[in-house]
């Protein structure tokens, strides 16, 4: 299960914790939508994501492309080893753009 905590501010951050699989779409979309109100960008912090699979990755990629087209791009920070391994394997950086990963 995915848990989210929002830290408001000029560049609000959504802290993600737990597991990202087929089940995380609603939770992630709702948290990002709430954080994006009035913001120019939304930061996703992956430090406490213990597991992600291709479904969770696909949901992040889709959301990232959607937010970019809506003018509120996502930024991904603090990728946990579990997330980094899967993102690298699935070449997520190529799919969403280098600007999503400023680290």
């Amino acid at each position: 299960m995915l848990q989210t905590t929002i830290a408001p501010g000029p560049a609000p951050t959504v802290f993600l914790a737990g597991e990202m699989d087929l089940d995380c779409a609603d939770t992630l979309r709702e948290a990002v939508a709430e954080a994006a109100r009035g913001a120019q960008t939304v930061v996703l912090d992956f430090a406490d994501v213990k597991f992600i699979d291709s479904s969770g990755t696909g949901i992040f990629v889709r959301l990232s492309l959607d937010m970019k087209s809506q003018g509120t791009p996502l930024v991904a920070r603090n990728l946990s080893p579990a997330v980094k391994g899967v993102f690298d394997m699935l070449r997520v950086r190529e799919l969403v753009g280098d600007e999503v990963f400023p680290d």
Binding site: M1, L22, S54, M89
Partner: protein, 241 residues
């Protein structure tokens, strides 16, 4: 193709118009040379395929008829192209990691070893249950953390496939063989249709990227597959010795 020059379908049906004599000739050539052979088909009306692969397997030859209908990756599309998916499958069969099982082989392989655990897959809550079950068993083995985590990832991908493409319900069985853990994920869905793997994302954004099976093939030691109109069974092996 068996050693007696007969061609039989393991997945799907043999389509009318398939030039069987020509297929047998290519298969015999692959068997003689003991090499994986692949042919691109340039004339669409010559074959009902874009690519034909011949994979020697002992006294028989696996024939993969890849029909991609000219599909290619769209610019900016994050999903894998169908050609990429099917070529990946052909390569894994060629190197022996993916075994396409007939019914007799399936019955033998799903009964091998000792059953440790079995439970139903019926909703997304099954994903965490499946991961936890495999994690608990692998924690008792000598495999390293990275291999254990990769195995758990593969199980999650297989259960996801059941939920998305296998009718939404199925079962998972853990079996202990001499040198490996075998996870059997089975469903009674309509069978794998590789064309479905590039379906557009759903409203929830659950993109089917076509990567799940690639992860399974990349990270596990061996995979068995039986799929047809009455369901799909995946045998997922992780060596533990």
């Amino acid at each position: 193709m068996a050693g007696d020059d007969t061609v039989s379908a393991v997945i799907g049906e043999i389509e009318a118009g398939l030039p069987l004599e020509e297929l047998v000739a290519h298969a015999m050539e692959a068997l003689r040379s003991e090499r994986f052979m692949c042919y691109a088909v340039s004339q669409s009306d010559d074959f009902v395929a874009d690519e034909l692969c011949f994979v020697p397997q002992g006294d028989r030859c696996e024939i993969l008829s890849i029909r991609a209908n000219g599909w290619q990756r769209h610019h900016g599309d994050h999903r894998r192209s169908l050609v990429e998916i099917l070529n990946n499958l052909a390569a894994e069969v060629a190197c022996g990691k993916l075994r396409i099982l007939d019914e007799t082989e399936l019955q033998q392989e799903t009964r091998a070893g000792r059953q440790l655990l079995r439970f139903a897959i019926d909703d997304s809550a099954s994903l965490a249950m499946a991961r936890d079950a495999v994690d608990a068993v692998l924690q008792e083995s000598a495999i390293d953390d990275v291999t254990r985590q990769r195995t758990i990832l593969c199980i999650s991908e297989a259960v996801t496939n059941t939920l998305l493409h296998g009718g939404g319900q199925g079962s998972m069985t853990l079996r202990r063989l001499d040198d490996r853990l075998r996870v059997v994920v089975a469903d009674q869905g309509a069978g794998m249709n590789f064309l479905n793997w590039i379906d557009p994302p759903t409203k929830k954004g659950q993109a089917s990227m076509g990567y799940g099976f690639k992860i399974i093939l990349d990270y596990l030691d061996a995979v068995g597959l039986r799929t047809g109109q009455t369901g799909t069974t995946l045998l997922l092996d992780r060596k533990t010795d």
